[in-house]
């Protein structure tokens, strides 16, 4: 049997299953179960059996969402450690006036804080604010570049979470639960949409700041979804994707010859066993070979023109947030659906200089502001902003009070973890431009208007991609699971 014949048979088989397949939206209970290492979409939940399905179809092949989404891809910029909204987007002049006063009892009675004990003092904004753009949105001087794009974003000022420790809060933000074991947002999206570019993973993760996020790799894990949907971490040092590079001494020809030999022998095995899984393996080896070229290509920023480097503040070869932001643009350009960035080092408690709001924190702002602003400008000039949803935020916010760790005033100016209200922003992908949603009280403690939950943010992201967040489900442990658990509704007022 020739290779062409085998491929033809594989396609035919796939097609014959395809016709019996139920797709998202057509099926009341969403997508069904998986088994045997192959995608078996089944709506036949009540029997629980997977009669339908294809043994050779690619679980990453592109799929249509529930409805036409406005965004094709998502870039989620997560500032791990939780940046202070009060020094960036949420301007509180009243708080300035109350700087140094004891925090009123009503704010601390019955509340739990991570580190604040006893009665802390209020801390005024450690930055000055001005209004920018036609929208007249307030912005702190910690973000000198962001004013250029202020009219492209919607700022959410009253996001609420119920977790005030990093790892659980990050898990909640990305997996919809503060505990481990659930799939991440990127995995859900890849499960729902597949991947447009078969030479690249559908869900890519980039980290900077020298550390992984607090919740570890599980926040890009696939939980109970098949592992094919987990985020692939791309790295700026070493192999861009683990084990991508051939062993020393190999060149492309040798690798090509070796994959050909492997696939030739696998074809012979297929003739013997007639197991369609062998055909799938043959195509995975071909894809691996293609990835070896495609990934280093997309992961190299060296060929970008000088003005782009100037714009983003990138330096090829180093591990930096700015480089990752530029890579994110390249990845979505190539059809990657979900790009997740984590930048570590935003936990501004004021226990040392690097976590002080007037020192280390400003440094973090400056490290990221230029690249983030450049990303929006660059996407816009390429006509990609319309179809790319950019999301920025941390896992929670910071207290209007100065932290007094264990009841002692911290040596630097810092704020404790705050779950009641914090700021995030979204841009592109069908989100309103130059808009602000939600208000906090005069000291920035509680949401008083337009309060949204982390689940609402997730539901919104899914909606922009074309999903009803209640319908994007996976059958596990006898019930359909979804990213937003049993909560969430899209934040319609911010949708253009």
């Amino acid at each position: 049997m020739t290779k062409e014949k085998i491929q033809l048979e594989a396609q035919r088989t796939a097609l014959s299953y395809q016709t019996r397949r139920h797709f998202l939206g057509k099926c009341r209970t969403g997508m069904g179960m998986m088994a045997m290492g192959s995608v078996l979409d089944s709506c036949n939940l009540f029997s629980g059996n997977n009669a339908d399905g294809s043994l050779v179809s690619n679980p990453l092949s592109p799929r249509a969402p529930h409805f036409q989404g406005k965004a094709k891809s998502v870039i989620f910029l997560h500032m791990a450690g939780a940046p202070s909204q009060l020094e960036m987007f949420d301007y509180k002049p009243e708080l300035q006036k109350m700087d140094g006063l004891d925090c009123p009892d009503s704010f601390i009675q019955g509340k739990k804080f991570a580190f604040i004990r006893g009665v802390p003092k209020l801390l005024g904004p450690q930055a000055s604010f001005k209004q920018y753009g036609q929208s007249g949105l307030w912005l702190s001087d910690n973000l000198p570049h962001f004013q250029q794009v202020i009219d492209d974003v919607t700022i959410l000022k009253a996001v609420n979470t119920d977790q005030f420790n990093h790892a659980p809060a990050q898990l909640l933000m990305h997996c919809g639960t503060p505990r481990l074991g659930r799939p991440s947002m990127g995995s859900w999206v890849t499960y729902g949409l597949g991947s447009e570019n078969s030479n690249l993973p559908g869900f890519v993760v980039l980290t900077s700041g020298g550390r992984n996020p607090d919740a570890g790799k599980s926040i890009w894990g696939s939980g109970f979804l098949p592992s094919v949907y987990q985020g692939v971490q791309c790295r700026s040092e070493g192999d861009p994707v683990l084990f991508l590079e051939d062993p020393n001494g190999f060149d492309r020809d040798m690798r090509k010859a070796s994959i050909e030999a492997i696939n030739n022998v696998n074809e012979l095995s297929y003739n013997e066993y007639k197991d369609p899984e062998i055909l799938a393996r043959i195509s995975q080896y071909e894809m691996a070979f293609k990835m070896q070229i495609a990934v280093p290509d997309v992961m190299s920023i060296a060929d970008e023109p000088a003005y782009i480097h100037e714009m983003y503040g990138t330096k090829p070869g180093e591990e930096s947030f700015a480089n990752n932001v530029l890579l994110a643009r390249k990845l979505v350009e190539k059809g990657v659906r979900f790009v997740q960035l984590f930048d570590w080092g935003w936990d501004s408690h004021g226990t040392g200089e690097d976590t002080a709001l007037d020192k280390g924190f400003i440094g973090k702002c400056l490290q990221t502001d230029k690249a983030v602003s450049a990303l929006l400008l660059d996407l816009k000039q390429r006509g990609l902003l319309e179809e790319t949803l950019v999301v920025w935020g941390g896992e929670f916010g910071r207290t209007p009070m100065q932290e007094n760790r264990d009841g002692k005033q911290n040596s630097f100016k810092g704020r404790d973890h705050h779950s009641e209200a914090f700021s995030m922003w979204m841009a592109g992908g069908g989100i309103k431009a130059g808009f602000s949603y939600g208000e906090t009280d005069p000291i920035g403690y509680n949401a008083i208007e337009g309060k949204v939950s982390v689940y609402d943010v997730q539901a919104t992201i899914l909606k922009q991609l074309g999903f009803d967040h209640e319908q994007l489900t996976y059958q596990f442990q006898g019930r359909p699971f979804r990213l937003t658990d049993v909560f969430g509704k899209p934040i319609d007022p911010i949708i253009a």
């Binding site: 550390r211 607090d214 790295r235 084990f243 020393n248 022998v265 012979l268 006898g478």
Partner: protein, 918 residues
């Protein structure tokens, strides 16, 4: 027309046949089968609005008493025996779309409505789901008391399998050849290719008992325990770290070793479970039985600064409940946490009654993972023995038990983290209580009855501190005054006699003063734990001081291996358990006592209301779930899919069993004839002709049964992550035989571990530790070993009852390029080049045979010969490439031949046949 058609017999047969396929076309006397016909309709069409979560209109179909109760309208929707007047049926026909059910969905089909109507007319009887009925002995198809087999290679399993095959017009395949069986059985039973001695014995044995001897040899092999431990480690969510942000080290490998030994001993499964669930509660528990309880200490501990220990203690308890149900009893219980089960008969409150079994365990998310079993070593062994001899001499039996427990487990101690009402004090980094200058803290509800001494494990950098303890009020007169000096080496022990007559439960107010401290922010002393103990015996004896000091020393800082274990609170510290509203641990409502779900309370023989009682219930022969879950899992390990595909859920929302009678047959034999022997059950399965079939697929089977649910051929299944690694090590002659011990760190690329606040690095192990079996690889939860994750290994944050196999390019890249596999390719090439007399062709054949267990054919040889030739030509021209490929100078001598051949062996290790069980 032949006369038979007119005969009444024919009509009966016709009636039965049609009746089976859909007997609503015929009137039959058979009552409706609730489980087969009614429950599926209810589950699919009704229950999402009328069940455990939502009860729209006050109507629920989950339990019979609910279904027959008055709804919001005041009248019941179902009147047994009277469908015509039952609102439920009326609503199914309703013309008004607002009224018609299912609400705003497609109406039910006529057949469905007819079935529901008949069901109500017949009395609306509910029936227990099959998995909740106890396991009964099964009649073997085609046989009565004696089974008839076509040949010696069959057993009763085949009769069950054949029956289904016949029904589906399929048949079993021929027996696989000897080499295939050798490889298949070896990978299944010991996880690696059989050692030479076992393999040769089998291949050269022409007798018809050869296969059975092979199975016996494999089951007796020491590698057996390691293979089955790898399965159990997923269920136990075993890891070498604690999880969450810092994900710091946890030493719990002794539990992994306990698993290996238990499997190798073929510890009966009932005992195996009992020791893991309640080893600490067994009479005269041994160290090993304590270590077994680490099963449920593999839950995560959160060391992140600023976390609430009670929150994460609760999370761990919930994990224990969910894991117990999901892994050991194939039931998804987690949803009952927030509301009554939407599909199965479990009520919200029952979750918390069950949680109460676990809620009284000592552990409380402390940094040190207390309680720990201390296995003494070196000097500490004799120190412990001396102290215990002393106590034997001068104390009574109670004291003996008390002190042995205290020294072996550090219990019963009260962790300082429970302190509250602090003034100028703090829980330092949420690890321990810290008192500063002029500070206060409270330890709540401490029982002083029958206690005479207070022991404190403390640390301090200052001499001449004054610790004052008052009872129940900061203004009470001092109860104890203790001078506190600098501690030695981190933690020291303070010991003070309690005033005579101390009794009752009190709040202790601790106050620390030290005039030498300048600022109020200066740290005074920190506390690890407090213990209120009886007096150390032998006070009047000459050597009292010596033995007493030895006791304190052994208690404070023994030389020991520490393993987290389960241990219950004593009666005076017993925790109360409450129902959490919607699963929120902060919203505690009704208090509950430990107990089983109502569905199971008929098991009257279970008296104990603790974990041991729970274990006894779980391992009793009337428990419908435990044996079924395990045999289903064993079947899945051998056949690639369970008899019930959803291993984690045998409930009404799980998959239907493909062979229900076979499942029950195996479960029954497992508990009874085989007395819970896992080895005997495995042997029964692998001795079947079904297992021994060829894995080649026929066109017919592919069309009729693409997922091979009926086993018309043996399954082809990709090896597990562990098997992929272990097999490669074995093929290349690199596999280390070393068993047990702390986990090791084989090669891993740089920059993988980057946990915040944890400077630890992956430090590559030396020598043979590089080449240990996968189960010994150090497992960091937030950053698991990458190549194993590529092959669908589980991160082990929570239990993984079933791995879903995938087939991805990342797997290809791992086997092609991971230095581990390249290193092994070179090793294999080197081994094959050793015998100079062999031709290239022979070498290729030998390598292929090592990797697949089969002789190679001509076409495949040719493919590898070509690869060798092209690589050799390439490398001949570009010598610097060889230096890149072969790092060792010894290899450089063999030069291009070795390098070119390693390209070939690398390809062999990547073959589908190699990473698949054929």
């Amino acid at each position: 027309m032949p006369s038979i058609i007119k005969s009444p017999l024919f009509l009966t047969i016709l009636g039965l046949t049609l009746g089976l396929t859909g007997y609503y076309f015929f009137l039959t006397d058979e009552p409706v089968d609730y489980n087969a016909e009614i429950k599926p309709i209810i589950n699919q069409k009704c229950i999402s609005c009328h069940g455990g979560v939502r009860q729209k209109g006050g109507f629920s179909l989950l339990f019979r008493d609910e279904a027959l109760s008055p709804t919001a309208s005041g009248k019941p929707a179902i009147i047994p025996g009277d469908a015509k007047n039952s609102e439920m049926i009326r609503r199914l026909y309703h013309k008004d779309l607002e009224e018609r059910m299912p609400y705003k969905e497609e109406p039910l089909s006529k057949q469905e409505i007819k079935l529901l109507t008949r069901w109500i007319d017949e009395g609306a009887k509910f029936e227990t789901h099959w998995a909740y009925k106890s396991v009964q002995p099964q009649k073997i198809p085609g046989g009565g008391f004696f089974s008839f087999f076509d040949n010696d290679d069959e057993n009763d399993i085949d009769l069950f399998i054949d029956k289904k095959l016949d029904e589906n017009n399929l048949s079993r395949s021929d027996m696989a050849d000897k080499q295939s069986l050798l490889r298949r059985a070896s990978l299944d039973i010991i996880g690696i290719p059989a050692p030479d001695s076992i393999a040769q014995k089998y291949l050269s044995d022409p007798s018809n008992k050869a296969y059975e001897h092979l199975i016996d040899d494999l089951l007796a092999s020491k590698y057996y325990g390691e293979r089955w431990t790898s399965l159990w480690m997923d269920l136990a969510r075993y890891a070498d770290t604690k999880g969450y942000e810092r994900d710091y080290i946890r030493s719990i490998w002794r539990y992994r070793d306990w698993l290996i030994k238990s499997f190798n001993q073929d510890k009966p499964y009932d005992q195996f479970l009992t020791e893991q669930l309640a080893g600490d509660l067994l009479p005269n528990a041994t160290d090993e039985q304590f270590i077994a309880t680490a099963f449920h200490r593999n839950t995560m501990t959160n060391d992140e600064g600023g976390t609430d220990n009670e929150e994460f203690r609760t999370a761990a308890i919930i994990d224990r409940v969910n894991t117990t149900w999901e892994t050991l009893m194939g039931t998804s219980f987690a949803c009952v946490q927030c509301h009554s089960h939407p599909y199965d008969p479990f009520k919200h409150e029952e979750y918390y009654k069950f949680m109460a079994y676990f809620n009284n365990s000592r552990d409380e998310d402390t940094y040190d993972d207390y309680p720990l079993l201390r296995e003494f070593r070196n000097k500490s062994i004799s120190q412990y023995d001396s102290v215990m001899t002393w106590i034997n001499l001068y104390g009574n039996n109670d004291l003996k038990t008390y002190y042995s427990r205290l020294l072996k487990t550090g219990q019963q101690c009260i962790n300082s983290l429970l302190a509250d009402s602090m003034i100028n004090a703090a829980l330092g980094d949420t690890k321990f209580l810290m008192l500063r200058k002029s500070s206060w803290a409270r330890m709540k509800a401490i029982s002083l009855t029958n206690k005479s001494t207070l022991l404190i494990r403390y640390g301090s950098g200052n001499d001449n501190g004054q610790l004052t303890i008052r009872l129940d009020s900061t203004s009470a007169k001092p109860y104890l005054k203790i001078k506190v000096d600098k501690s030695k080496g981190g933690w020291s022990m303070l010991e003070v006699d309690l005033p005579p007559g101390s009794t009752g439960v009190h709040d202790l107010y601790l106050n620390y003063e030290n005039s030498k401290l300048k600022s109020k922010d200066d740290n005074g002393m920190r506390f690890d734990w407090f213990a209120f103990t009886p007096s150390f015996p032998g006070k009047d004896q000459k050597d009292f001081t010596t033995y007493h000091d030895l006791f304190i020393q052994t208690l404070n800082r023994p030389d020991a291996e520490f393993t987290p274990i389960m241990l219950d609170n004593p009666a005076d510290m017993k925790r109360k358990t409450y129902v959490f509203e919607r699963g929120n641990w902060l919203l505690k409502t009704k208090q509950v006592e430990a107990g089983l779900p109502e569905l199971f309370v008929n098991d009257k023989d279970i008296q104990l209301r603790n974990r041991l009682g729970l274990a006894q219930w779980m391992t009793s022969k009337t428990n419908p779930l435990t044996a079924r879950t395990m045999v289903n899992r064993l079947w899945e390990q051998l056949f690639g899919q369970g008899l019930v595909e959803t291993l984690e859920d045998l409930g009404s929302q799980g998959a239907n069993p493909t062979h229900p009678e076979l499942l029950d047959h195996l479960a029954y034999l497992f508990m009874n004839d085989d007395n819970w022997s896992v080895k005997k059950t495995l042997k029964r399965m692998v001795m079947s002709a079904t297992y021994r079939q060829s894995s080649k697929t026929t066109g017919k089977a592919k069309d009729k049964d693409p997922l091979n649910k009926y086993y018309s051929h043996a399954p082809r299944v990709r090896l597990s992550a562990e098997q992929v690694r272990d097999q490669a090590l074995a093929i290349c002659g690199a596999l280390s035989d070393k068993m047990y011990g702390p986990s090791v760190m084989p090669y891993q690329p740089d920059g993988i571990w980057r946990s915040p606040y944890d400077g630890r690095k992956w430090k590559q192990s030396d020598g043979e530790d590089q080449y240990r079996r996968a189960i010994y690889t150090y497992w960091k939860r937030t950053s698991p070993y990458p190549s194993m994750i590529s092959f669908d290994g589980s991160a082990r944050e929570v239990c993984a009852t079933r791995r879903i196999r995938t087939n991805t390019p990342l797997q290809a890249l791992t086997l092609l390029n991971d230095s581990t596999y390249w290193d092994l390719s070179v090793k294999l090439a080197q081994n094959l080049l050793k015998d100079k007399s062999l031709s290239l062709e022979q070498r290729i054949g030998k390598g292929y045979a090592l990797a697949t267990g089969h002789p190679i054919n001509e076409q495949k040889t040719k493919a590898f010969q070509q690869l060798y030739t092209s690589s050799f030509q390439k490398l001949e021209k570009e010598k610097e490439k060889i230096l890149g490929m072969l790092s060792d100078s010894v290899y450089r001598k063999q030069g291009k031949e070795l390098a070119a051949f390693a390209v070939v062996t690398n390809a062999i290790l990547n073959l589908d046949e190699v990473i698949t069980k054929n």
